[in-house]
Symmetry: C2
Subunit: 604 residues, 2 copies
Amino acid sequence: MKNEYIDIDTLKFLLYHVHNIEDLLDKDRFKEYDKTAIDIFIDSIKTFSDTALFPFIKDMDENPSYFKDGKIHIHSQFENILKNAGEMGLVGAMYDFDNGGLQLPATIFHAAYYIMEAANNHVPGYFGLTAGSANLILSFGSQMLKDTYVPNMLDLTWGGTMCLTEPQAGSSLSDIATSATPTKEDYYLIKGQKIFISAGDHQFSNNFVHLVLARIQGAPSGIKGVSLFVVPKNRPVGDGELVYNNVAIAGEFEKMGQKGYCTTHIVFGDNDDCRGWLVGEPNKGLSYMFQMMNEARIATGRMGAAIASAAYHSSLKYANERPQGRKLNSTGQKNSEEEQTLIINHPDIKRMLLNQKAIVEGSLSLIIETANYLDKEMTSSSKEEKDKYDLLLELLTPIAKTYPAEQGIKSTSDAIQILGGYGFCFDFMPQQYYRDIRIIALYEGTTGIQSLDLLGRKITIQNGKAVDLLAEEIMMSINEANKYDELKPYSKILLENLSLTKNVINDLIPYAAKGNYERYLADATIFMEFFGTIVLGWQWLKVAVKAKKILVEGNTDQPDLFYKSKIHTMKFFFTYELVKTKGLSKILMNTEELTTKISNDIFN
Amino acid sequence: MKNEYIDIDTLKFLLYHVHNIEDLLDKDRFKEYDKTAIDIFIDSIKTFSDTALFPFIKDMDENPSYFKDGKIHIHSQFENILKNAGEMGLVGAMYDFDNGGLQLPATIFHAAYYIMEAANNHVPGYFGLTAGSANLILSFGSQMLKDTYVPNMLDLTWGGTMCLTEPQAGSSLSDIATSATPTKEDYYLIKGQKIFISAGDHQFSNNFVHLVLARIQGAPSGIKGVSLFVVPKNRPVGDGELVYNNVAIAGEFEKMGQKGYCTTHIVFGDNDDCRGWLVGEPNKGLSYMFQMMNEARIATGRMGAAIASAAYHSSLKYANERPQGRKLNSTGQKNSEEEQTLIINHPDIKRMLLNQKAIVEGSLSLIIETANYLDKEMTSSSKEEKDKYDLLLELLTPIAKTYPAEQGIKSTSDAIQILGGYGFCFDFMPQQYYRDIRIIALYEGTTGIQSLDLLGRKITIQNGKAVDLLAEEIMMSINEANKYDELKPYSKILLENLSLTKNVINDLIPYAAKGNYERYLADATIFMEFFGTIVLGWQWLKVAVKAKKILVEGNTDQPDLFYKSKIHTMKFFFTYELVKTKGLSKILMNTEELTTKISNDIFN
């Protein structure tokens, strides 16, 4: 199943050459691993994806998860998948050896999940959320919570979830109303409703460990009164016995895509017998949950890039096989006596393939970069270094979530377009990927929420220190590129874009300084598109530098065309995408206030 | 059902004020109608849409058309819908009174279908294709064909289709292989397969009249050997008796959207007993079919604008009802003690609503403009005038098809985004509109095909005369706008864009002149986006001019805010969309040839 949904050679090129993952393996934390071990791990994930995941993606769409008699039912293939994933250690892939994990770098963890999600995006959330919730318990929970819950989550006997959203609150976490009433015992009584809970229940795990945001009675209003609880569906009462903990499944949200991945409505404590155990200190729940939310943001962006990869490869396969039309001759005519040409020979098809390649591979590079900052932060030898990577991680996280989502939606639409009418039909995959990927711009904070985080928090953090650090990183790539004549024109463009970014930020900051935060943030989503495009331009320049270096040095382990294709795609990205930042900067610097100073009644 | 899917006040403002439809009613052809009669017609269409169409759109999605036992089955509500539509004269709305039609202007025909498609886009194709195919017979068919087929099509007792696409040819009509063998009688024997035939069969019409492109044996290769035939599913043999004509339904294409509108696979003559009657002269089939294709292109764009309208109104309703989050105060904080605000109060939501409003109403204005050129051409008093409107119609047709399709896809995505997670769920409509509208960029020639038509044919026609004529029309709007200080900055921007258009065309033409047609057309799709955005800018300026004029003259028949909202939306379009043309022009004028001079192997 070569290249049916992913290009493993490109993934490895990004890991080993562009992002120098081998440097990480020298660190103490990862010293058990060498390149061979990592390759074996990645190849085993690919085999698992080829055999257990990819063959079922269409069937999971056609036989969605559903709610019946108080239970969620998911596709029968999950029994085998979950068993294998548990045995392979996919939940604890990043955890310390001491906690039963594989202690792999985050980069490798994300690479593995990327492969699985490209093969079948309906699946890996079931392990990913279990990984995130168990990690939350490991990070902030008591020894009792760790001992009671983590071992069963590690092998997927039990599933884990994050329960944030409530019907009346949506993204507004300060309006969480689920209540936690203290008792004389070590637990609280939990009562409330949570919606949109991914992987919230199914027939193949005999228990679920919900990480629930709730408000202890009497707590301050807003986010300062939100605490985090472990609330099992069934509570262990010793000797492996489980007692139902009054966690009722109220329904399943029927969605237009990602239908195999259940999205549940959970009611806690409708009989006032739902027990929850506090994680860490009271009223600090949101700060703990942010660890998992930040992981989940990178994971969501990764899933977007992965779905876009599958769509790209599906449309590439079609373009390589489908004859239609003819090339124009020098009088602008076609010779109908000639055989039809393959559609990949039409420039418009090539443009759509290059656009997909640029978005897919560029997004993947950004995901790896972001994960790499996490690895570097975890293994840094000084506080200064740790702080630096922490800031870079903070800055890139909302972009790593959003760029692959928003641009992946567009690139997946190109995959449909390449197939023409067939692209809209159930007989081919692009329409499914197009439906599946649309959720990525909504999960874990919509694009609007991520954009507020980027412009409202991350850009202004420590007086813009994160942006300065990123600019230093980008300058390093620019300086590298300047060593090669072929790349100089592009490093110049990226430099101009860095300077444009400064202009835009300098233009906007005064609004915030004067207290006009509404105006400052009004076009945050446009800023995300603007800044995200520049960050991707940086990733592509970085990719091209490494490809060029390998070609010049003759250090190839792939055909030359492999490296040339990276340089070509960088040029495409700069010519067709990065060129748009100027127009976006004009939107950002416009002074008309068209979305802030206008009555709602103009719509009515 | 006020404003659940359409804003009728805006439709009427565009018809009567922006596009001065009343001028048409002075023409001889339309003298039976006055404004009151048109209003009554439009209002009756709205009532029909409210009661018979809109209530069934969700159910048609949930119960798609399907193939069983050699037949296509469509939703049961169609029995009532088709009966009523037949009685209302919707098929012959534009035909001459002499042909049993209502002899309405094209603008009113399209306005009526726009309302119906906004209410339920799965429906009107069944009448629209019957209208187009009967019109083809009226235009080019023999008296026998007219007498035999048209009367039963007019009241929808029989349906009509256009049969172009074949499995091996797709959009490449020169590769049509369906054969027509002459006989000693007045008919040919037809043999071949056609796919993607919209409205190709169903249980509620007892006959279908297929307009089929086929090749008479011995005809030249390519499009010069394609002829047009009337091929009934059942042939009338006198006294109303019908004999099966060997037109077999082989299947239904299952699609991700527009599921109520069947898409069939038809096999003609598998038993060598399928009779077809030539329309007009041999080998001229494609030129005849272009009449219907051009009508269908405008209709398809119209349907895109209509679906986007429904999505816009659906998300607007939600934004007006859903409380979530709070406004920021002057320290950038939210007060969680306050009640939550309606989401329409958030600038990012307003931006997405304004974007939708700009795309929906601007696209509708473009559709009306295009239809108006058809009306003016039909009623013109001199050859010069006729030629002028004919050229303008030719130029705008691919844009009127494509802009609402491509931008409607984006605006419908905004509708999902406004609903957050709910937007992805079957409980709400945006996800359905998002699935439905995706086909619009594929129907009747994909965006790539339309773009080749625009840049390859329409821009170069008569040495650029069509563009010159359009520039004159745009200049008239600019001059009007210059009368008002508020509009001057925008007319200046539009003027700059006209000049930018000339630069781009002058930059590209030399490639064609030197015989490098591949390079000339390589970025045709980008040119479509570039030129389409400018044409929409013109439509918005035209709308704003009329709104301003009415306000200044105090000639209002709506609240002032109605007219101000049009001017505001124009400003939004110029500030957020038209600003992108500069970047697009840079792509068009780049000299890198990244999609033409590159081996296919870079993808493999």
